[in-house]
Amino acid sequence: MQIRVQCGCGESSCPEWAVVELQGVVQPQASFAGDIRGLHIGRLCSAPSPSSSSKAGYTFTVGYHELAGTKVTLKKPLLVLRKKKVNAGCGEQEPPAAAEEVELEVIGIIRHKILFKDRPKALISKPPTKEKKTVQPAAK
C-alpha cells in the first residue's frame, strides 16, 4: 500500500507547535486522576539563562517544584502528522472492500522545545501560595 503525505499549509506557513519537555512524569493529584482535561499543570516564566548566556532561560513551576530549563532549537525539526481516513470513492482502486485509504497530513512543525533536563528544586515556602515565583538561576 501507499500512504501519501499531504500538507495543506505549504512550506512557508506551516504552523509552529511548541513542546515542553521534562524528565519523568507529571502526576496529577489522585482526586483529579480520572479527568485531567483543563487542569492546570504549572507556570512557565522566562528567566536568565541557567548556564550559557546564549540560550533563552525558562523556569517551570509545578506545585512546589521549580524546574530550570532552556529553549533548544532542534537539529532536525519534527513534523506533526495526523492520520486521516480518506474514503476512496473513485472506483478503480483495489476492487471492493478497501474503501478506506489512509493519508498522513502535516499539521504542524516543531522547531524548538523548552527542555527541562535538571532535577526539580523544591520551593521552600509556606504552604499553598502558588504565586511564589522565585526566579533564580539553577544551583547544582
Binding site: 500500500m1 500538507c7 482535561r37 492546570h40 507556570r43 512557565l44 502528522l81
Partner: protein, 400 residues
C-alpha cells in the same frame, strides 16, 4: 513500525479542531513575554492519530509539498520515499514527558483546580504527551521483490492476453508497483531499467530470453539484407522493415535500446549496436544452463556472433565463471542479475557458489552493491575474510 498504522483507539473522543494550544505564547516567552500557565487541553488525550516525524531540513521541501509517500505491505517495515530516495522509519520512544502544544488561541482558560491563578492570564494548553518520534535513516531501495514480480510473467512474442481480469495475474502497472515495492519513484525506475523491463499496454514486463533472441536475430538478419552498418542502422528503416516482419515498434525499440545506443545525425536517428552487449547475449545463448569446456564454448560463441564483432572473455564478467578441473577449464553461467541485492544475502550466495574467490573474479559480482554510507571496502571487511599468503600473491576472499 508497521506500514499499516493501527487505528487510533476508539475511545470516547473529544472533538478537536487542531488548535487551541497557544504555542506562540510559549515560544515567545523568551523574548520577555508574560508568564504562561500551562494546562491540559480540553481535548487532551492519547490522540493516537498524531505522530511526530523527525525530518532533516533537506527533506522538508519534499514533505511540505506533498512529494512524499509511505510505502510497504502491512507485514513489511514501512519506508518513506521522496521522489529519489528511500528512508527506513524507526520509532524512537522517550521516557521524558513531551507535552505537545498546538498553535492557535487557547480555547478556554485553565479552569481547574480553580480559576484564581492570579495574574496568569496567558494560557497554553497541551493536547497530548508524545511517546516518541519517528526517525528517518537513508536506506537502499528494496528491489529484490521487483525482480521476482516481473519474472512471474515475462513478455512473449505473439502472446495473447485476452481481456478478462483472470489473465492479468502476474502483470503489474506502475501504480501496482508503487504499492508493492519499497523504493522511491526514481529508484524504482532505475530498477526497471536494470531489469531491462519495458512498459507494454500499461504493464511493466521483462522480455522472455527466447523472444529477445528472435528479435535480435531478425534485426541482424535485416541489417545484412539491407546493408545497414551495425554502428549506424537508420531507425526509420529498421522499424518499418521489422514491422512488416510482424514486430511492433515498441518491442523493437526496446531491443535496440537494450543492445545499442541512439545517435542523432543530420536530423535522422541511427542506432549503433554495442559489441559487448550483443556478444554477451550470444554467449548466454551458446552456453545455456549447463557446463561447457572453455574451448568448445569459445568455438561455438565465436561462430554465432555477427561478423565484424569480436568475442572476448572479458565481456562475460559477472555473467560466466571459469573453473579449472584438472587440465581442463570449464565455464558455466553465473549471472550477477540472478543474485540477491542485499549485501548479506549476496555474499552468502557467492560463497555457496565458491568458498574462495580471487579479487578479479569477485569484483564483478559485488560492484553493483551500494549501501548508503558504506563503501565497498567496508562491505568486504564486514562480509569476507581476506588472506594473502605472500606479499606478491593475489589476495583470496573467504566467508567470514
Amino acid at each position: 513500525m508497521d506500514a499499516e498504522m493501527e487505528d487510533a483507539g476508539a475511545q470516547a473522543k473529544i472533538e478537536w479542531d487542531g488548535g487551541g494550544g497557544g504555542a506562540d505564547a510559549v515560544l515567545g516567552l523568551a523574548g520577555g513575554g508574560p508568564p504562561v500557565s500551562l494546562c491540559y487541553h480540553q481535548a487532551f488525550g492519547s490522540h493516537d492519530d498524531i505522530v511526530l516525524l523527525e525530518a532533516a531540513d533537506d527533506l522538508l521541501p519534499d514533505l511540505l509539498q506533498g512529494r512524499v509517500t509511505v510505502r510497504g505491505r502491512p507485514e513489511e517495515e514501512a519506508v518513506l520515499c521522496t521522489p529519489s530516495a528511500t528512508y527506513s522509519m524507526k520509532f524512537v520512544g522517550t521516557s521524558n514527558s513531551m507535552f505537545l502544544i498546538p498553535p492557535g488561541e487557547p480555547s478556554a482558560k485553565c479552569l481547574r483546580p480553580d480559576s484564581t491563578n492570579g495574574d496568569a492570564n496567558v494560557v497554553a494548553a497541551t493536547i497530548k504527551l508524545a511517546p516518541g518520534s519517528i526517525e528517518l535513516v537513508r536506506t537502499a531501495p528494496r528491489l529484490d521483490k521487483l525482480r521476482s514480480l516481473l519474472r512471474e510473467r515475462p513478455y512473449i512474442l505473439d502472446e495473447d492476453l485476452g481481456n478478462d481480469f483472470e489473465h492479468m495475474k502476474g502483470l503489474y502497472t506502475w501504480q501496482n508497483l508503487c504499492k508493492l515495492i519499497q523504493a522511491s519513484d526514481g529508484e524504482l525506475l532505475d530498477g526497471l531499467n536494470t531489469l531491462s523491463a519495458v512498459e507494454i499496454d500499461g504493464f511493466w514486463r521483462t522480455v522472455d530470453a527466447n523472444s529477445v533472441n528472435t528479435i535480435l536475430d531478425m534485426i541482424l538478419h535485416n541489417s545484412v539484407l539491407h546493408d545497414w552498418p551495425l554502428n549506424a542502422m537508420p531507425e526509420n528503416d529498421v522499424l518499418s522493415v521489422m514491422e512488416s516482419d510482424g514486430f511492433t515498434h515498441k518491442i523493437v525499440t526496446h531491443c535496440l535500446n537494450r543492445f545499442g545506443t541512439k545517435v542523432e545525425q543530420e536530423a535522422r536517428s541511427f542506432w549503433s549496436l554495442d559489441e559487448k552487449r550483443v556478444c554477451l547475449q550470444f554467449a548466454q545463448r551458446a552456453l545455456g544452463a549447463g557446463k561447457m569446456k572453455l574451448a568448445n564454448f569459445m568455438d561455438k560463441w565465436e561462430r554465432s556472433i555477427p561478423s565484424g564483432m569480436h568475442a572476448d572473455l572479458q565481456m562475460l564478467e559477472g555473467e560466466v565463471l571459469c573453473e579449472k578441473l584438472g587440465a581442463e577449464t570449464w565455464v558455466h553461467a553465473f549471472s550477477v542479475a540472478d543474485l540477491p541485492l542485499a549485501p548479506a544475502d549476496r555474499f552468502a550466495a557467492l560463497f555457496r557458489e565458491r568458498p574462495k574467490w580471487e579479487w578479479k573474479d569477485l569484483q564483478p559480482y559485488i560492484r553493483d552493491l551500494r549501501l548508503p554510507g558504506v563503501s565497498s571496502e567496508g562491505l568486504l571487511i564486514k562480509y569476507t575474510r581476506r588472506t594473502q599468503p605472500s606479499a606478491e600473491a593475489e589476495p583470496i576472499f573467504t566467508a567470514r
